[in-house]
Amino acid sequence: MGVAVLIKQVPDTTSKVSVAGDRVDESSVSKWSISPYDEYALECAMRLKESGYSEVVAITCGPQRSSKALTEAAAVGADSLIHVHVEDSLDSIQVQTLLSAAIKRTGSEIVLCGKQAADTNSGSTGPGIASILDYSCVGVVSEVSVDDGVLVATRQGPSGLEEIEVSAPCLFTFDKGESELRRPNVRGIMMAKKKTVEALTPGDLGVDLGESAVIVNSHSSPPDKPPGQKFEGVSSIATVVQKLRDEANVI
C-alpha cells in the first residue's frame, strides 16, 4: 500500500511577495519552493516507506511551474509524481475535489499534507479532502509511525499534545516536527530529473470544475504603520510603559 503526500509550490519564505496593480505579482517572486509544512509531510512519508509501505506518490495541483516542486520531492525519494494541471485560481472546494480524485486514482489510504500552505495560510485542504473521501482526519501532527499495524501520531489537539492511534484510511496534516529533513544528494537530483511526471487535467480525473464560488477582488499590501519610536537605554522603560497606557491603551 502506498502513501500519498500533497505538495504545494509557494514563494520561498525568504522571497519578497509584492503587489502590482491589485494582484500579487508572481514575476517578483525570486524563488519557488515546497511549502514548509509539506516538507515535514514528505519527510514523514519517506520514513513510513522505510518502515514498509510500498511507495510514496507526490501530488500537486497548480500551474505549469509547480511541477518543479514534484521533481524536488523526487530528489528526496518520492517514487511517483502526479501533477494536476490547472492554470486558473480555484476555490477551496475545487482544489479539494481535484486532489481527492487524484488520491483515489492512486488508491492511497494514507495521505499526508501540510497543516497550512505558506501562500493561502488556510488549512482547508487536508480536512476537506478527508471529508470528501471519508478518511479519518488527524490534524496538526508532528510525527506519524506504524506500531503493530496501527498508525500512531503525536498531535496538538484542543486538550494539549497527545499521542493518538488511528487506522487507515487516514489523512494527516503536518506541523513542524522534530525530525531532521533529508536534503537531496547529487544522485537523488540526477534520478529525479529522469522521473516522469504524470500530468493530468481535471477532465482526466472525471472532474467538472464548474465556476469558482469565490472571486478575488483585490490584493493589497497591508497598511503602513506609523513609524515607531525608538529609545536608548533602560531609563526609557518608564516612558514606554506610560505610552502603552496613554497612547496605545493596551495595558
Binding site: 519564505t13 525568504t14 511577495v17 503587489v19 509544512y37 477551496s92 472546494i93 505558506a118 493561502t120 495560510n121 488556510s122 488549512g123 482547508s124 487536508g126 480536512p127 478527508a130 471529508s131 471519508d134 478518511y135 479519518s136 482526519c137 488527524v138 490534524g139 489537539g157 484542543p158 486538550s159 494539549g160 499534545l161 497527545e162 499521542e163 493518538i164 492511534e165 487506522s167 487516514c170 506541523d175 513542524k176 464560488a213 469565490v214 472571486i215 478575488v216 477582488n217 483585490s218 490584493h219 493589497s220 497591508p222 506609523p226 515607531g228 519610536q229 525608538k230 529609545f231 536608548e232 537605554g233 533602560v234 522603560i237 518608564a238 514606554v240 502603552l244 496605545a248 493596551v250 495595558i251
Partner: protein
C-alpha cells in the same frame, strides 16, 4: 440570511471568541443560531445578545476530539447560508470539513466580513491582504480579536439534539496538557523571548512580566530549536503560530522575516534588544535599545507600580 455560529470552547467554558463571532454576524444582519458541540458553554452562549437560538449538539463522539466525527455530527445542523467559526486550528478543521460535506467553499482567517459577502483576510503570512467576494452558502472562519464581542444580555431559546458519529481516533496518552498556561494563539498580550535570552531558565523573567499582565509567553524558533525546555507550542512565526494580540513584546529577538510573519499584524509591538540595528525595530511601535538583564527588572517595577494604582 441564516447564520450558524459554531461555538468555540475553552475546556468546559465558552471561549470569548464566540461572542465576537456573533458580533461579526450581527453586522451582516442575519438570523443567528449558535451550535455548541458537546453542549459546552451552552448557558453562556444563550446569553449572548442578538442570538435567536442555541442548539446543543450532544453525543458520545464529542468526548474526545475527532474532526471528521465532529463535523459529521454538526453538519446536519449547519445548513445556513453562512457558517461561521473561529480560526483556531479546531475551528479551521471543522469549518473545512463541514464545507466539504456540503460541497461549498470555505474562507479562512477573515479579519473583516461585510455584506455581499465580501471577506478580507491576510495571506502570505500577512504580507498581503486579499479581498474577495464569495457566494452563499459558504463557510468563513474569523480571526480572534477582529470584531467586538456582542454583549451578554440576551436570552436565546435552548434546544438539544443527539447525534451519533463514529470516532476513529483513540488517545493513547496525554503528553502535555493544554490550559495550564495561556496559549499564545489566544492571548491578548504576548511577551516572547529569543536566543538573546541566553539560557532557557532566563525565560522565568518573561513569565514574571507575563503574570503581571495576564499575558502568554512566546518564543522565536531559535529559542525553540536551541532549548528543549522551550516547546514548539510557544513558537511564533512562519512555522509556529500566527498571532494578533493587542500588545506583542519581543525580547532578545532579532526580527527575522519568518518571525515577523507570525506577529507583524499585532496592534502594538514593543522590542527590547541590545543591538540598535536589529530588524525587529523596523516593526516596533516602541523600541528600547537595552539588554534584557537591565530592561526586564525595570519593566517589572514600572508595571507593578502602574497596575497597583
Amino acid at each position: 440570511m441564516e447564520v450558524i455560529v459554531i461555538s468555540e470552547s475553552n475546556g468546559d467554558l465558552l471561549h470569548p471568541v464566540t461572542a465576537q463571532l456573533v458580533g461579526a454576524s450581527s453586522s451582516l444582519g442575519g438570523n443567528i443560531t449558535i451550535l455548541c458541540p458537546g453542549g459546552k458553554g451552552l448557558s453562556e452562549a444563550a446569553e449572548i445578545s442578538g442570538v435567536s437560538k442555541v442548539i446543543s449538539v450532544e453525543g458520545d463522539c464529542f468526548q474526545s476530539y475527532d474532526s471528521n466525527a465532529w463535523s459529521k455530527a454538526l453538519a446536519p445542523h449547519a445548513e445556513g447560508d453562512l457558517v461561521l467559526t473561529s480560526s483556531s486550528s479546531t475551528g479551521r478543521e471543522l469549518a473545512s470539513s463541514i464545507a466539504a460535506i456540503r460541497g461549498i467553499p470555505v474562507l479562512q482567517d477573515a479579519t473583516n466580513i461585510s455584506e455581499g459577502i465580501v471577506v478580507s483576510r491576510p495571506i502570505y503570512s500577512g504580507k498581503v491582504i486579499e479581498t474577495s467576494s464569495v457566494k452563499i452558502p459558504c463557510v468563513i472562519t474569523l480571526r480572534a480579536n477582529s470584531y467586538e464581542a456582542s454583549e451578554s444580555s440576551g436570552k436565546a431559546e435552548i434546544s438539544t439534539v443527539n447525534q451519533t458519529a463514529d470516532v476513529t481516533i483513540s488517545i493513547r496518552k496525554a503528553l502535555e496538557r493544554a490550559g495550564e498556561k495561556i496559549d499564545v494563539s489566544e492571548a491578548d498580550i504576548i511577551i516572547s523571548g529569543g536566543r538573546g535570552m541566553g539560557e532557557p531558565s532566563n525565560f522565568s523573567n518573561l513569565e514574571e512580566v507575563a503574570d503581571l499582565l495576564g499575558a502568554a509567553v512566546g518564543a522565536s524558533r531559535a529559542a525553540v530549536d536551541t532549548w528543549d525546555e522551550i516547546p514548539h507550542s510557544m513558537q511564533v512565526g512562519q512555522t509556529g503560530k500566527t498571532v494578533t494580540p493587542s500588545l506583542y513584546i519581543a525580547v532578545g529577538i532579532s526580527g527575522a522575516i519568518q518571525h515577523l510573519a507570525g506577529m507583524r499584524t499585532s496592534k502594538y509591538i514593543v522590542a527590547i534588544n541590545k543591538d540598535p540595528e536589529a530588524p525587529i525595530f523596523g516593526v516596533a511601535d516602541y523600541g528600547v535599545v537595552a539588554t534584557w538583564e537591565e530592561a526586564l527588572p525595570a519593566l517589572k517595577n514600572e508595571l507593578s507600580a502602574l497596575l497597583s494604582n
